[in-house]
């Protein structure tokens, strides 16, 4: 039972990184869609956000759909505040790290106020971070994925030996 437990912990470590990578990839997809909506469709941000949300789906998509809906309600708040509200609401249902969340929140500071070029630059800034982080995770998983599982299994054996 101990060996199964520790092996499972090793497995979870590996899975956590995989899920985080999937979340980051979904954000990247969403941002590319958003850039297209702004650049080619010249859609309004609430419409673009809802469209992106429905296309991406998952919990990441919900962040975009929710902010689009909030913008349409016209409560008098800035895009930054509404974006923060939405990210805070859904962050616990994602596997994103604190640094990922901070970078995601930084996107809100320039949302909706600047011209097209600046909007695109703002999105590109986050895309660069996502690209780096996804590549780093891929490399890390390739190197350490098996290691986590093996360490988990061996750790379990070690505990058993020490106990008996």
């Amino acid at each position: 039972m101990i060996i199964t437990g520790t092996a499972f912990i090793g497995y979870l470590f590996d899975r956590f990184e995989l899920y985080r990578m999937k979340d980051l990839e979904n954000i990247k997809r969403a941002l590319l869609f958003l850039k297209g909506e702004i650049d080619y469709m010249i859609a309004s941000l609430p419409v673009a956000m809802e469209e992106v949300g429905s296309r991406v789906g998952t919990n990441i998509g919900k962040i975009f759909s929710h902010v689009g809906e909030s913008m349409k309600n016209k409560r008098g708040y800035s895009a930054e505040k509404l974006w923060k509200e939405s990210v805070e609401l859904y962050k616990d249902s994602t596997y994103l790290s604190k640094e990922d969340i901070n970078n995601l929140l930084a996107l809100g500071t320039a949302l909706g106020y600047l011209d097209k070029e600046m909007q695109k630059n703002n999105i590109d800034l986050l895309l660069v971070y996502l690209e780096d982080e996804i590549n780093r995770l891929k490399l890390h998983r390739h190197k350490n994925g098996r290691l986590y599982k093996t360490l988990g299994f061996l750790g379990g054996i070690l505990i058993v030996i020490l106990l008996y």
Partner: protein
């Protein structure tokens, strides 16, 4: 949606809260809301300027005035642009944006120039929210002086800014289009609404009542728009706001040559004032317009000061009031 509801939906939460307790009928009397960074919020209501206290009551005392911060203007700009300033770059080049309902917002700030032409405005410093008012039948008493049997006279409305020129034009368009029982049967009107103030179009559909036989070209330059309407919609009357450029005059001549009647407005305080402007004096000298209507703010916006026969330049009111 009522005017107050529409305007409040575009204001930042801090500014919006100032107007909550103002009743709808009082809000209707507000013509301008001026926001300037680190300066007091100022309202133009019934021809008078007021400050607003933090509790929303109007005051003339500067020390009690609510002060506008930059964040208020940024948040308001976001709401006005539907969080999409990037989609309004074309409008910003002209220095204003038009809101749903035809309310026009003038914006100043840092103008960005690219390759010698204005690209956009950023770092907004001030906003002037001009609340559009549709007053049904405000042109009703003026209307009999405009019509000429089953058609109308070429008419030029002369008015200083803020005296109800566009409101009067909008109601004239509606009356010409719908007709008036036992007086006028109504004819097709084409409107070139360059600044989206007449029809208050939202996504191409007029939000104001401009009549059942009216076609509106929204956001289109006046001179091109008049020719487009001539070619496409065969109007009997074409209406435009704020003429003054040489190209407008050439387009007006095209319209007249096509046998179509015109209703136009122009900035000015009197006929003499217009005659001093080189471009417009030519129109008067050529006796193109058959009626001049002079408006003022003397008894509130839309006061008809005079109606002048364009041929002999005699007053048709002769000291009487409408």
């Amino acid at each position: 949606m009522k005017t107050k509801e529409v305007i409040l939906s575009f204001l930042s939460s801090r500014i919006k809260s100032l107007f909550y307790h103002i009743p709808e009928e009082e809000f209707e009397k507000i013509y301008e809301i001026r926001l300037r960074v680190n300066k007091p919020l100022i309202l133009l209501k019934e021809g008078q300027y007021y400050f607003v206290r933090s509790d929303g009551y109007l005051t003339k005392k500067l020390e009690q005035a609510f002060i506008v911060f930059q964040k208020d203007i940024i948040d308001t700009a976001q709401l006005m642009s539907d969080y999409s300033m990037y989609a309004l770059e074309q409008e910003l080049k002209n220095g204003y944006i038009t809101l749903q309902g035809g309310h026009r917002v003038g914006i100043t700030g840092k103008v960005v120039i690219e390759k010698g032409v204005i690209k956009t405005i950023k770092y907004f410093g001030a906003m002037n929210i001009r609340i559009s008012h549709q007053i049904i039948d405000c042109a009703r008493e003026l209307f009999p002086h405009i019509i000429n049997g089953e058609n109308i006279n070429h008419t030029l409305i002369i008015s200083p800014p803020g005296c109800g020129k566009t409101t009067m034009l909008r109601d004239l368009i509606r009356l010409v289009s719908d007709g008036v029982e036992n007086l006028f049967s109504g004819i097709t009107v084409g409107v070139v609404d360059e600044r989206s103030e007449i029809g208050g179009c939202y996504q191409g559909i007029p939000q104001n009542n401009v009549g059942i036989k009216t076609d509106v070209l929204d956001g289109c330059p006046k001179a091109e728009g008049m020719r487009m309407l001539l070619r496409s919609m065969s109007p009997r009357v074409i209406a435009v706001d704020e003429i003054g450029k040489m190209e407008d005059i050439f387009a007006i001549e095209d319209v007249m040559n096509a046998g179509v009647k015109l209703i136009c407005t122009v900035h000015g305080s009197s006929l003499a004032d217009i005659q001093r402007k080189p471009v417009l004096s030519e129109l008067i000298n050529k006796k193109i317009f058959e009626r001049f209507v002079v408006l003022s703010n003397r008894k509130g916006p839309g006061t008809v000061e005079d109606i002048i026969d364009g041929i002999n330049l005699n007053s048709l009111m002769k000291g009487r009031e409408l």
